[in-house]
Symmetry: C2
Subunit: 545 residues, 2 copies
């Protein structure tokens, strides 16, 4: 395997650990816990794992004397920087507990457990992946562990490999399912612990117990690097408006954090659009106004950050999409529909929806109706929101030009960043945080608990002051409707409009729109001064202030 | 101005200089020179600046005692990392020669000279831009300095500001024009020196005298970082083929260097396509074969690097575009043309071109015919080559599937990187190289010469062993047809198929296609170990071997 100079140098990095995890560890158990809502229902659904205490780890004088065990690990869902460090932390933690402990990785996600695809992770394998990005050590996948037959299939291989604990590294859904699995194995007295780990670049797995999910720090820094570079280009060439879409389907944390880092002219926050019931035209008009205002000052350039999931947060678009799904699902097939679907749909849609549909650029209207998923639903993710917006802004500006109140030039460029950051080599923060989460998971296993998520807190302090422990997953549950059914789930954290990060942004965004206040974060640094290398996100700092 | 932690830390970086430029400098003049070709014609066109000697700078014992002068500087053409360091090197060099020397920047490119837009660059301004990316200190522009009235307009402001020398930082065209300007001012005895500086991320301004243009190093490293991240994602998710287009209209140096750094499954080199007279179908078939071969091994993922200018290097596409330009320029306007332009064009095109046109996806055919530039020409740059290729590959694979010799899955993702790298903060190499070029330019000015390009050689050695000097620009000239006229120009350096970088790539590419040999360069590092921070490109190393 050929390696870059940075890969080689970075392999030697020793992640920093909380003081409590640096030597022998003991668990301190707190008082019983409650779920954040719907306590009775959740208690009923999780009779064995409900109400368990919070755990905090402290330094211990003596080693626990533990028999050797085998442990399994699973990467679930989208990639996030630092996954390999969770695994290496888990490995090192297990080996410190007992050198005879063994670690197995299930391949390509939860499906590997069900389908019995696995490999043992030995020291030579682990050493190849320390402090690297990606999930390629064992791969990841999106199979959902939800059904009893999957749990039973999983148990077969766990029994065969004599595995006593499984660590599932994933987002909110995967951790929810980890708890369901923990409850099932406990109820069945299978003697298998299940531990979760909070992963997702989207930043939407956080709450009173979880300060941030891992990978968010590195991913946003990578996006902020390239956006900063584009802004410098923008400010040098002074002739383009860059429309930059950022990964993250449901929450706008990534866009907001990037905005705080780079100070763009415009950043749209989906949660605000929904809250204020903004229409597509409201958004377009607001962007066009900023373009026109800057043009009047001779500034025919700028940057617009757009969260990937925006379309689904525009209430009017949601209604249009719902009606389109209904109409297109009808069994009728008229001549008109075949010859001119666009006109046919306009005649079928309700007045409000027809007006919105008619206002969309032709290619977007086509995307909305032509390409549907296997369930017949419009595929919102295929819509190129960045082009849609720039297209409609251009149209609006052309109209204003005709009316005489805009005289600038508008030349858009489009970008979409996602895959560029999900597998970046983890920043020092993520390398340390993930490694600490892995060691924490090994300590939770050593303490015999199940249905817990590994937790590391106090993250804005230096790493040795971080606080490691475990959170009963049921504690984070509430009941929510998912696919028509009420289910116990971890509440997804959207951007809070009265939260400090959004308020910090909202306080200055008008100034950023008018002036050119760009900041250029540059690439992630691993070796330089601490203020360059070891700072975490502005979101986390503001939230913990 | 808000600054990122890296901006602040990086401002303190002191660029490394060649030994000869570290103290007092003396010029050593070599033998008279000749242009690389067409000596007689070029001598006739440049009677005053032809045949001048090469200059090498050496350390001197004593300072020259020089009267104070004013100097102008211009950034010309596309942004490239390090431009600000050329200017700060020039500034520091001038101040060392005589603290009373002054530097003026002409704004937004050569147009600033013609239109008399300028500002004085004082120490406090310069200090804000040291080691930063972008050209925003004075902006850049694409006005070509070619005409006598421009030269005369420029002279007006130079005379008014008492400027005795102008430094033009640009690519091959801008340096060609710098020499034309030098010749003109010398012939007119205006007493104004003109000095060029070799800039372009494209890497196509290089020859026996110029080892590399500045900015290439940083730009390719930035692209290689994000491509590496995508490859890690690709190898983790194992379900996408990423089609990645890279900036660079005429030469494929960027794509080739990125390939050498990241080891993708496929990298297309335009110069090879042209040389081998490959058709679009040849390219598509070759990609599809690799996709199918990997699919047969269960590897339904991969990466393809595509140079931006590819389409114009496909001889058959060039012929098609030429005929389309002709047909669409005809004054005729038939009913058929209006109703169904596609069918009409198919009936008008020659057989070979009609077949190729018919084979293109509809949207590309539309792009080729609908959107034309002000001269009525097809706008090749608007064609989304990355989608065109993936689209045609998908079609070919579908056909093979029907025929039973392909059974994989093909899910493409598309990327285009350009603006992400042109204004990145310069790598240590570019920071040092550019600063050295700036100091070199000041020494050329001190020695009273004109029509020279600043030159720093021996670039694969440590910076203190670099060799600074000046190259008579005429030495790099040959006559080429440009817009129907024979002109003296610096030959553009395309990728040489018998050059070491291409041969190194060609020797291993079959292996990279079949295996997954990805390398992950990671982000540019400024502070770490020298093998991580101070290495230049593989292209330069291979060429200088």
């Amino acid at each position: 395997m050929t390696k870059s100079a940075l890969q080689i140098a970075r392999a030697a990095y020793q992640p920093k650990l909380p003081k409590a995890l640096q030597g022998q560890v003991k668990a301190v158990f707190g008082a019983p816990t409650q779920s954040v809502a719907d306590q009775e229902e959740i208690k009923k659904l999780f009779p064995n794992t409900y109400g368990m205490p919070l755990i905090t780890f402290e330094a211990a004088a003596e080693a626990q004397n533990l028999p050797a065990i085998n442990v399994g690990v699973i990467l679930s869902g989208g990639q996030a920087p630092g996954g390999h460090n969770v695994i290496s932390g888990l490995f090192d933690g297990l080996k410190r507990l007992n050198p005879a402990n063994r670690l197995y990785g299930f391949l390509m996600g939860p499906g590997g457990l069900v389908d019995h695809n696995y490999k043992e992770l030995t020291a030579d394998i682990i050493d190849e992946y320390r402090n690297t990005g990606g999930f390629d050590i064992i791969g990841s996948g999106r199979t959902k562990l939800e059904k009893v037959d999957q749990f039973e299939k999983g148990f077969e291989i766990l029994k065969k490999l004599n595995i006593k604990a499984v660590v599932i590294i994933g987002g909110d859904d995967s951790n929810t399912n980890a708890c369901v699995l923990a409850e099932y194995y406990l109820a069945k007295k299978y003697g298998i612990q299940v531990i979760g780990c909070p992963k997702t670049i989207d930043g939407d797995l956080k709450n009173d117990q979880i300060e941030t999910s891992f990978g968010f720090d590195t991913a946003v820094k990578t996006y902020a690097e390239v956006i900063g570079n584009i802004q410098r280009d923008c400010n040098s060439a002074r002739k383009y408006w860059h429309f930059i879409k950022l990964m993250g389907r449901s929450a706008s944390h990534i866009a907001l954090e990037c905005a705080l880092q780079v100070q763009p002219n415009i950043c749209i926050i989906s949660e605000e659009v929904e809250k204020k019931d903004m229409s597509l035209d409201d958004i377009v008009t607001s962007i066009a106004r900023t373009v026109a205002h800057r043009a009047a000052q001779g500034l025919n350039f700028g940057t617009v950050l757009i969260p990937e999931g925006l379309i689904e947060f525009i209430p009017a678009m949601k209604r249009l999409i719902a009606e389109l799904n209904d109409i297109l699902a009808r069994p009728t097939s008229t001549h008109e529909r075949m010859v001119d679907q666009h006109s046919w749909l306009l005649s079928e849609l309700s007045k409000e929806n027809a007006e919105l549909f008619a206002s969309l650029p032709q290619n977007v209207a086509n995307q909305l109706t032509m390409e549907r998923d296997p369930h017949g639903n419009v595929q919102v993710s295929l819509i190129q929101t960045e082009s849609l917006l720039s297209n409609m802004v251009a149209r609006k500006l052309a109209q204003w030009k005709k009316e005489g109140h805009y005289t600038g030039k508008f030349a858009p460029q489009h970008h979409f960043f996602g895959y560029e950051g999900r597998c970046a080599a983890p920043s020092n923060f993520d390398a340390d945080y993930c490694y600490s989460l892995g060691v924490t998971a090994s300590s939770l296993i050593a303490n015999g608990v199940t249905g817990y998520m590994a937790s590391v807190k106090n993250l804005t302090a230096p790493a040795d002051q971080w606080v490691a422990g475990g959170i009963p997953i049921t504690m984070m549950f509430n009941m929510e409707r998912r696919n028509g059914e009420m289910k116990p789930v971890i509440r997804k954290a959207l951007v809070e409009l009265d939260g400090k990060p959004f308020k910090a942004f909202a306080a200055v965004r008008d100034q950023w729109a008018k002036e050119t206040a760009y900041v250029y974060p540059g690439p992630i640094q691993y070796f330089g001064p601490s203020e360059v290398c070891d700072q975490t996100t502005k979101t986390l700092k503001l939230e913990q202030e």
